[in-house]
């Protein structure tokens, strides 16, 4: 699903974020991306979402070489991908329903299908009945679940998450992780960047460990 081949990323300010990163994440696999802050976890996810482009090397997502995706085609590329952010990135002037429906509006779904999909997504994250609420009225954990519902509403094959439990207590973190596990069980490929070691230790999933821009363990399976 995701294949990195000798990927280097150097930012315009001269910082080398990734150096010679190679790994392959199988379709249907779930993995953690770990490592200390500044190790390059966010950069790696940005390369997957085409927020950044590699300086060298190739990044394949779903058999598509991202370097061949032209700027104009990036929106279509991102629609096949669910992204979860540490800071949720919800639109606070819209209801929970409208937030979750956003990718579906973009994908031109009919009003009826949209309602069905949004409710299904909210049901999966345990927030059915929250449609008319405003995100600001929700707790941090609930907001994160709305963000996850938005990421899965369009039923992507791949979900990437950047520190999805970053601001949550252990109990809430565990709940969030269970959500990802459930998606993975139905075949969704999941890549989660986190430095929450306690959480990782509780699970058997593959760990890609980044340090100083290099993968130090977990690259070979």
């Amino acid at each position: 699903m995701i294949r990195f081949d000798e990927v280097f990323k150097r930012y315009p300010n001269g910082r080398n974020a990734l150096a010679s990163v190679s790994f392959h994440l199988q379709r249907g696999e779930m993995a953690f991306l770990t490592g200390p802050s500044g190790a390059g976890k966010s950069t790696l996810l940005k390369l997957v979402a085409l927020i950044e482009r590699p300086t060298r090397g190739s990044v394949l997502v779903g058999n598509q070489n991202t370097s061949r995706v032209r700027r104009r085609r990036i929106p279509q590329f991102r629609r096949r991908l669910g992204i979860v952010f540490q800071d949720h990135k919800l639109l606070n002037d819209r209801t929970v329903f409208d937030n979750v429906a956003l990718p579906l509006v973009i994908a031109s779904l009919s009003r009826r299908d949209m309602g069905r999909r949004v409710r299904a997504a909210l049901d999966q994250v345990g927030l059915l009945g929250y449609e008319k609420r405003s995100p600001v009225a929700l707790s941090s954990g609930e907001q994160q679940r709305v963000g996850i519902a938005r990421a899965i509403a369009s039923r992507p094959e791949l979900v990437i998450a950047d520190e999805p439990t970053g601001n949550l207590d252990p109990k809430l973190s565990r709940e969030i992780l269970e959500l990802f596990e459930r998606f993975n069980e139905v075949g969704v490929t999941v890549l989660i960047a986190t430095h929450d070691l306690v959480l990782i230790e509780e699970h058997k999933y593959r760990r890609l460990r980044l340090d100083d821009g290099k993968i130090v363990s977990g690259h070979a399976e």
Binding site: I83, K89, L109
Partner: protein, 305 residues
């Protein structure tokens, strides 16, 4: 069919969303609309006044009466005969004969030199014919005047078209000035709306990033801003139309009173339906264009990071 329905639903949603957004900042929105209204009302108002001046000059243009003064030795019988001859011409609508004695009486009554005339032994005024040409065209009028000037009894023909030409010259110049004002103020409308949309884009920077992250295309992101520009332009134009109509109605009664003093039934013409429609359309188009320019310049720069 489904796609079209969805497309329309999306537009309707955008439309309502944009109106709601504008209504949530009533003071700011209103100020922008007023600025646009002023910029549009100025050229519109000037154009309406110009139209009125044209109507007025046109009504004079069509009726350039001129006077044929006969020689002093032409007697009344011959003059009346001439009047009938001229009247019979195809290129003449009407001929009025003013005899020497009538002219004298009129002069005595209106000039204030009545007593001075008493000093003279005889009437110094000639017979005159006031001729109304059938055609208002300048060349035709001049040809007719020339023909009448060649009659042996004619002393001279007084044809005063110079002032009409001067008036038309002034109107031409005014039209040019109004055209320039229209272009400049239209540009101002584009810039005002462009700037408003630029601020709006900056205010919604985060939202734009989120929409880009979940796969919103440039067109999808641009749409609400284009709508906003469209509405600003449309609302500004509507307010401009209202302003012009209101101003004209304030001028209507004094204008009518003035016209009556000149024996005219002239009434100020306002904005026609077509002109109003044209104004609204131009306003909306300028707003759309301003928003388009701002969106093209600023949306691309906002990328998720």
């Amino acid at each position: 069919m489904h796609r079209l329905k969805h497309y329309l639903a999306l537009h309707a949603q955008n439309l309502l969303g944009t109106l709601g957004r504008m209504a949530r900042q009533p003071v700011g929105s209103l100020m922008t609309i007023v600025v646009i209204a002023i910029a549009l009302a100025l050229p519109t108002g000037l154009r309406v006044l110009l139209n009125n001046a044209q109507i007025l000059s046109g009504s004079w243009d069509g009726a350039i009466d001129f006077t044929v003064y006969l020689k002093l030795d032409v007697d009344t019988a011959r003059a009346e005969e001439l009047t009938r001859d001229v009247q019979a011409r195809e290129d003449v609508t009407q001929t009025v004969f003013i005899s020497r004695s009538e002219a004298l009486a009129e002069f005595r009554a209106y000039s204030g030199f009545g007593e001075a005339l008493d000093v003279l032994d005889e009437n110094p005024l000639p017979h005159a014919l006031i001729v109304r040409p059938a055609s208002g065209d300048k060349a035709d009028v001049e040809a007719l005047a020339g023909a009448l000037a060649l009659m042996p009894e004619t002393d001279f023909v007084q044809l005063d078209t110079a002032w009409v030409e001067r008036l038309n010259g002034i109107l031409d110049l005014a039209r040019r000035v109004v055209d320039m004002a229209t272009i400049l103020l239209s540009l101002a409308v584009v810039l005002v709306i462009g700037n408003t949309i630029r601020l709006e884009i900056n205010n919604r920077r985060e939202e734009i990033q989120v929409v880009k992250l979940v796969g919103g295309s440039d067109g999808f992101i641009r749409r609400p801003f284009l709508y906003m520009g469209f509405f600003y332009g449309l609302a500004g134009a509507a307010m401009a139309a209202l302003t012009v109509t209101l101003s004209l109605s304030l001028l209507a009664s004094p204008t009518h009173a003035l016209a009556q003093l000149y024996g005219s039934s002239f009434n100020l013409a306002g904005l026609t339906w077509l002109q109003t429609l044209l104004l609204l359309g131009s306003g909306a188009l300028l707003g759309w264009a301003g928003a388009g320019v701002a969106a093209a310049r600023h949306l691309r720069a906002i990328e998720p990071s």
